[in-house]
Symmetry: C2
Subunit: 237 residues, 2 copies
């Protein structure tokens, strides 16, 4: 049996991407188990011998890997937090976080790993604008002009926390978790995530939906997954 | 049926404190359901009529309230986070957090409540000593002399974050969540919690046990419960 853990596409998309891989008539089974907001793909082969089962399973696993690519964040029981920890430690990099709508959820996940003090320097949960200015150096004029939930403020937060902490990477999140606070322009679920690194700063807008808790959870996961992809590419380069 | 939610004593202690209240032969039942690290006391009465059941239940509930006192943080389905939110809003106070071993867990809990931006200004997840100094103004000499996990540093963190954020209350946590990092003097599970308020600063040492996750969870709960008790007493005064 092989387990591949996936984050990014929804279940229907994964189902579509994996179509044709399962061959129940030949003893090759594929299951998708959704544990919001990620999912686990389980591949299982039944044959007369262990060798035959393994021979049936291996190409199917490769097919799943080819089709899902970077969406696969780990295998077996390894969490995304553990994967990120391994990437940081292998590359000798450090991290600082600036969180608004996730309110410490990302920091809590990062620090759930024993030994995270080797790469995690600090986090700022900047709920008020005053905190965004004082802790992260986000200009009051920028906050006024663009709003706390904006691409410009997200990247200023990421760059600001990176500089203040003296870390290699700065990851920032700002958004509207709801249920109140949405506008026509920026409805509930609008989130900006920004990653500041030595080789550049990237910021992206997302539109999530769900309850306050769901929006916060998927925001934290999306930010962590972005970090994972950045580190994985950097490590492979 | 009445539900009373309790934090503080262990199940055996609660069992002892509530001895003699249940009277199954008269239709009065008492159950304790533990959901780490808190528990729920359920009182239920069975009688010929609803009136008789209510008459049986009411004095039993009062007895439980008398015996458990401040250990009861809420009734029914209300969480401790919601209770704290209500206390802050009613009293018009603001909060800032400084977390080390809990790594953002307290901030995440506080901000899980919609509308928490009315009282929560900011949180600092200060994992490195440099962050404790820069964000909270904790002196390098104090960190060197007493260690990051000490009563003195905990109170300096609470006072520091309160001053930096300009909040009414500053709550700080520093400890050793493990599994590594313990010493003879300060074994894994050693935690200092400090609350800085306009009327004083209180700091206390705790010794918890369990896994990294359990120690972090009970530390966050203990800090939140301390905040709840402070606000409840202040509101009653």
């Amino acid at each position: 049996m092989e387990r591949l853990n996936v984050f990014g596409p929804c279940e229907a998309e994964v189902d579509e991407m994996l179509s044709g891989i399962a061959q129940p008539d030949q003893g090759l089974y594929l299951g998708i188990c959704v544990t919001f907001p990620w999912m686990r793909i389980t591949l299982r082969a039944e044959a007369e011998s262990d060798e035959k089962a393994a021979a049936l399973l291996a190409p199917a696993v490769r097919l799943v890997e080819d089709r899902l690519g970077e969406y696969i964040f780990s295998r077996g029981e390894t969490s995304i937090d553990e994967i990120i920890a391994g990437l940081f430690i292998r590359q000798g990099l450090t991290l600082a976080l600036a969180e608004s709508c996730t309110g410490g959820m990302i920091a809590q996940r990062i620090t759930s790993i024993s030994g995270s003090s080797r790469y995690f320097l600090e986090g700022a949960v900047t709920y008020s604008n005053a905190a965004k200015s004082r802790q992260l150096g986000v200009g009051a004029a920028l906050l006024e002009e663009k709003g706390a939930v904006s691409s410009e403020v997200a990247s200023a937060m990421a760059k600001g926390v990176r500089q203040a902490a003296g870390s290699d990477l700065g990851l920032a999140v700002t958004g509207i978790a709801g249920p109140d606070g949405g506008t026509d322009d920026k409805p509930v679920g609008t989130v900006f995530i920004s990653l500041a690194a030595p080789d550049g700063c990237w910021t992206k807008r997302f539109q999530f939906s769900g309850s306050r808790d769901e929006i916060r959870t998927i925001t934290a996961w999306t930010a962590l997954d972005w970090l994972r992809r950045y580190l994985a590419r950097r490590g492979a380069a």
